[in-house]
Assembly symmetry: C2
């Protein structure tokens, strides 16, 4: 089939390995029958888990080696040449698959993917993006830890990456984009934030709708589709959000299990509580996307279950199908061309 | 009485002015009869709100001028000399009150307080601190926006400020302290974070229990009493946390009001839900403390109600009663003495 999408899966990554990765592929296949799978890992564990339908569209590439969750990224890169993670990444690099997904060691995956796949032309630094539930749907936030420090150009490129992700994975035609800051006024925050905002405002080729500065509460506020920040701030914001979610869930649970009466009331309330829980279910939003590399690479949560891992597969499939990287290349090229034209038109540039 | 505590109140600040500030003082007085109040603002609005008990322990210092919530800090400092906010700050500076509280314009309050009260000796930069509910109680986080950028020494001083606040306002004898980072490993994050951690680890005089690096989820996780960070990251984390709280409350509300049945179940569940809500009530944790100034200055939320504002008054009273600034001075002095001794003992220092 012309439109099949080939997913390379590190079957040994995450807390559960093939026991989650294989059923996740089966689940994704049900709604997306044009997927094809290439499983990397222990064939003795993978093969018995394949359903007949899945088996018909899958290859197993056997290896005994797996990267441990606590292995140092530098060590994983040096010594992990025949690991399931590395072979899956190599597979995408060699064009045998369109997208690689792993629930393994984040640092090792990022380091290996950067080394093997390299940057997309025109992109200076990669960014880690994820989706968080918001009042109106979901918000894409990036970077979440690939870059401790960034400059204005990095942020502008992250904005392009975020827009293309929202377009291809979420189907939002003209995503709204904000730069995370500590106030929405134009004069607030670090200078490089001002610079990045000025660049996005001046750009006539930017495919997103730049709304200016946004604040932490806008991540879940529903007013903006893409939130752009440095990797340090983004990581803290994401973990703070996760922490508050867990905290509230814990307090509710404690109060509903305080005595027999409150336990009974929970049974009565469980319909509404269940719907609320489902809307906020982090499993639906699984997947940290490594954006800006020459191929598509997604990190699933290590603790993901099959449903959750299948969501990461579908995100990857959507990005491939809607040509994420082609779109990024086009938008970056247009933006750089406009910036160069603007620079050339400036008197200093002419004088120089 | 020897132990009366005098609170200077900017009665005109916040969304509601005297209508919240005066009842808040009455409420605080009930549990803390040794408080005395000095109200700054429109006496025609303040006087009628005083209860007889409150009237007996209060002074009104009349002024017609109030700082608008959208006034620029620089303008407020220049033109606001006779404003209720400025007069209340001057009052503390002149020793007529022990602590100043305002629900007015944050930027104006910070700028005016810095100008009038100046820094506490030994402290380089002020920090804004607040309390957030956590699984085990509450966590003090600072800085929340006074400093966009910090160095290692600033963070160490913030740690001391946070410890003294937890000791005097929360009654925690040896508070645990963490530096916010994007991983708990020693090698992660900005270099100045490493430096600050090394200083706190090496200190034998630090009154807190330094636990190393913590992550965003630790703010509500209950494992640490004080979280130290720069003002940019802290502000984003705080607003992200507030945003997630609002988001979850909104989703729960929507699901419980979806139909007649779910509305009825809410009535049944309201006991447990109400207790959970109360435990997480942001009103209980009202108050952004400006720490590091020569006098105690607290910013209440602009939208605070009387209960919420009264909590900020009680925090201020506790800080005064337990001698927050004296404690900070002593701890900073000890720490600097130890650092100087350590520097003098180093071979290079001897050679120099």
């Amino acid at each position: 089939l012309a439109n099949t999408i080939r997913i390379a899966l590190d079957a040994m990554g995450g807390d559960h390995g093939p026991e989650v990765v294989v059923p996740a592929a089966a689940l994704a296949l049900k709604s997306h029958p044009h997927l094809r799978f290439r499983f990397f890992g222990d064939s003795a564990r993978i093969a018995p888990l394949l359903t007949p339908a899945l088996s018909a569209v899958s290859d197993i590439i056997h290896t005994d080696i797996a990267i441990a969750s606590d292995e140092k990224p530098s060590q994983a890169v040096r010594k992990g040449k025949n690991s399931s993670m590395r072979l899956a990444i190599d597979d995408v690099d060699q064009g045998k698959a369109d997208c690689v997904i792993s629930a393994g060691n984040t640092g090792a995956l990022m380091a290996t993917a950067k080394l093997v796949l390299r940057m997309l032309p025109g992109i200076d630094r990669p960014a880690i993006a994820t989706m968080l539930p918001s009042i109106t749907g979901r918000t894409v936030t990036l970077d979440l830890g690939a870059n401790l420090e960034v400059d204005a150009n990095n942020l502008v490129e992250f904005a392009v990456l975020g827009v293309c992700f929202a377009q291809t994975a979420l189907g939002i035609q003209k995503p709204t984009v904000g730069i995370l800051n500590i106030g929405s006024e134009d004069t607030k925050g670090h200078e490089y934030l001002q610079d990045a905002a000025a660049q996005l405002e001046a750009s006539t080729t930017f495919a997103g709708d730049f709304v200016g500065f946004v604040e932490g509460n806008d991540i879940t506020g529903g007013g903006v589709d893409v939130v752009v920040t440095d990797g340090f701030t983004g990581n803290v914001a994401l973990k703070t959000a996760e922490g508050v979610g867990k905290f509230i869930a814990k307090v509710l649970k404690e109060e509903f299990s305080r005595n027999i009466f409150s336990k009974l009331t929970y049974l009565v309330a469980s319909g509404a509580m269940g719907r609320a829980k489902k809307r906020m279910d982090p499993r639906t939003y699984n997947g940290a996307m490594f954006l800006g590399l020459s191929k598509i690479c997604i990190k699933s949560h290590g603790s993901a279950d099959a449903f959750s891992f299948s969501r990461a597969i579908i995100v990857g499939a959507n990005m491939v199908e809607n040509k994420f990287n082609t779109l990024v290349g086009e938008q970056i090229e247009k933006m750089h061309a406009q910036q160069q034209a603007a620079a050339a038109a400036r008197p200093e540039a002419v004088a120089g």
